[in-house]
Symmetry: C2
Subunit: 407 residues, 2 copies
């Protein structure tokens, strides 16, 4: 039986998910999209119609913070797979709705509590993993962090484990956006989520324990395919928290590329207290969360797409040993902002985040990944996922002892 899919969220990533679902409509039953603001969901459907897709696609209003409302919608439209690309604050309620209504759950980023910045590790352990038993009991599949990073980079680590090393010693994930949006300043994702990633403590897993650093404290120059020499900084990121559980004896680090301009703006905003999620009171007595105002004055990330040019390079440098012989492999993807816009009307950052959950949904629909339990991407077979991603527009390449080649 063809499986109906429900997208939750209607931002830049949801736009990519919707287009990719429509392009691959033969894999699924009916398609649905739900958002707090239903007009945003309808706009996405219109953009799909503009590309000539005739697939059945319906928009629904939904408060995704209400697990009961999520379950009710799933039941009403008989959704079998939910792709959650709403705000990071709704994961736990959407997951609960899936558990209650018996639908598969796929997300692309970790749950966040609006009132907290930077949880203590392990982040998954604080929220999603506490529902493992409930997911298994309900007999549903829940795939966590199936975007690009986390997501594809977790599969890269798993590929290195499966095909290169019997012992993984270090996993360095590097995320470089060498594109340019032409604005004075903008974030590529929801500014609220984007800045929250960097305002707290940077956690990395090294020497079998959590290390703490400040943002922009540890920088390193990388020389990567296509994008060349770029400085990236040790950053906290979702996948460090799941990969460190599977690869306890390896060092797991995440490196995010930043230009000097971004760092300067970030530093000014942070040092002035404008990135705080705690409300401050103005002289007039109005309570304002500074970060929410900063979000309101910055460009909508979705608006950047038409002018975005250049490429991204995201990959894993994995070191390890095979039969006692040390070695290393760099597994990566290069994506192009303009190509992404021409294909689905979104910039490359949204594209790399939005295509993988569709690949995951296809694998769940086909049964390959329909594991009836909660899994992070590295817990699942990597090759079917990466090969499917190649077909969907995100090809994987490898630099190993034999050179630079496709997987």
């Amino acid at each position: 039986m063809a499986k109906n899919v429900l997208i939750i969220g209607a931002g830049g990533v949801a736009q990519v998910v919707a287009h990719k679902l429509a392009q691959n409509a033969g894999e699924f039953g009916k398609l649905h999209i739900a958002s707090r603001t239903v007009s945003k969901a309808e706009k996405i459907i219109t953009s799909i119609r503009d590309k000539g897709h005739q697939v059945e696609f319906a928009a629904h209003p939904l408060d995704a913070m209400d697990a009961g409302a999520v379950a009710a919608l799933i039941r009403r439209i008989d959704a079998h797979i939910v792709i959650n690309v709403g705000s990071a604050f709704v994961n736990m309620t959407v997951l609960q709705g899936c558990i209650d209504a018996g639908a598969a759950y796929i997300d692309t980023a970790i749950h966040e509590d609006p009132a907290k910045v930077c949880e203590t590790p392990p982040w998954y352990g604080n929220y999603e993993w506490k529902r493992r038993e409930a997911v298994e009991k309900a007999g549903i599949t829940a795939i966590l962090g199936a975007g690009f990073d986390p997501g594809v980079v977790n599969a890269y680590a798993r590929l290195a484990e499966d095909e290169y090393f019997d012992k993984v010693e270090s996993i360095d994930i590097v995320d470089i956006n060498a594109g340019s949006h032409g604005r004075w300043f903008a974030t590529n994702f929801d500014p609220e989520i984007n800045f929250r990633e960097f305002t707290g403590t940077v956690y990395s897993w090294q020497g079998g324990e959590w290390r703490q650093n400040k943002m922009f404290e540890v920088g390193r120059e990388w020389d990567l395919p296509v994008v060349g020499k770029r400085t990236a900084y040790l950053s906290g990121h979702d996948e460090v928290h799941s990969l460190s559980a599977r690869y306890k004896d390896a060092d797991v680090r995440f490196w995010m590329g930043f230009g000097e301009h971004y760092i300067n703006v970030f530093t000014v905003l942070q040092n002035l207290g404008l990135l705080s999620e705690q409300p401050v009171k103005t002289a007039e007595g109005l309570e304002v969360v500074p970060l929410k105002l900063v979000k309101a004055v910055l460009p909508d990330p979705a608006s950047l797409a038409p002018d975005y040019e250049g490429k991204t390079c995201i990959g894993d440098l994995v070191k390890g040993t095979q039969n006692g012989q040390p070695g290393e492999v760099f597994i990566y993807n290069v994506a192009d902002h303009k190509d992404a816009y021409n294909e689905v009307g979104s910039q490359g950052i949204s594209y790399t985040a939005g295509v993988p959950p569709v690949a995951a949904a296809i694998l769940v629909a086909r049964g390959t990944w329909d594991v009836k339990r909660m899994a992070n991407v590295e817990d699942l077979p990597a090759r079917p996922f990466l090969e499917l991603l190649g077909d969907l527009g995100l090809p994987t390449r490898v630099i190993d002892a034999t050179g630079d080649h496709p997987i």
Copy 2:
């Protein structure tokens, strides 16, 4: 009869005014201070008691945006002189209260409309000067802009006219704060007023007409006494608007010194739209004026005083001819942040702004400046004002053909 004085406002400048009035209590009758938040006024009185002053000083709650309330308070306490050092938004209502109740009016900065940034010139012509006739009819004295800049620098220009030149050709006012408050970033005045000075068009009077520039567009290195070589930028400022009326044939420019760090923070905030006085709506539907939030997160300027070190140098470079012979004179003051704090508990910027209106009040009380009309400082005899300021802690020095010496 000894004249009762009412201070309106209870910020850093009001603190200086209150202390200087208490130090010179013999010149006046009873002293009063009024503020929207009466506890702030009471705190200032407490700081005066702590310095051992036994003078009669009373605090009153007042909404200075209500001209009727201002007039009622003036009548109730029989105030003869009002020193308005409240927010720049209350000038017109306080002036109206003085006109209605028959008290002398002294302020230190131009009126501002909360909804506008950077009026078209001449600023005084848009508000205060429209009340000239009403002031004359009421038979009261109204002295506008009697702080340091505007204020003392206007008297410097008048001194150059009176004692150096029969024809003034240019007046360049230079304001350098070479002090350090030790914070990552702070403004020396109310951030709302401070930033509003620099977000709009920079007006200067050159070649007999208004010239427009952007902030930080025109910079120039100055080499000044005590503070040395400093870069200052062409800025809009109150006194350019009154001096250009008296010195129509001269160029009148205002130069404000800024360090690179200040300019960087300002540029980030402005380019992001965070210095706007127009409300923006957050995703949650809350209407917020960005500038008011920025004010709320920045340090209270009054809190900087204890750690403030270093000196300010503010002066006028005046060029002109005397009997056809060209010449120039630099008339200036150097003030010390630490000395100001030790004397009155405020930093040097508040000190230089707060002492001059007290000198003006003394001259009104003595009759020297009790002119029964509206006047800017350059319309009044300069020497009595500058000599009195020397006694009150703000000595004037001159660099002319004979060297660097006191006036």
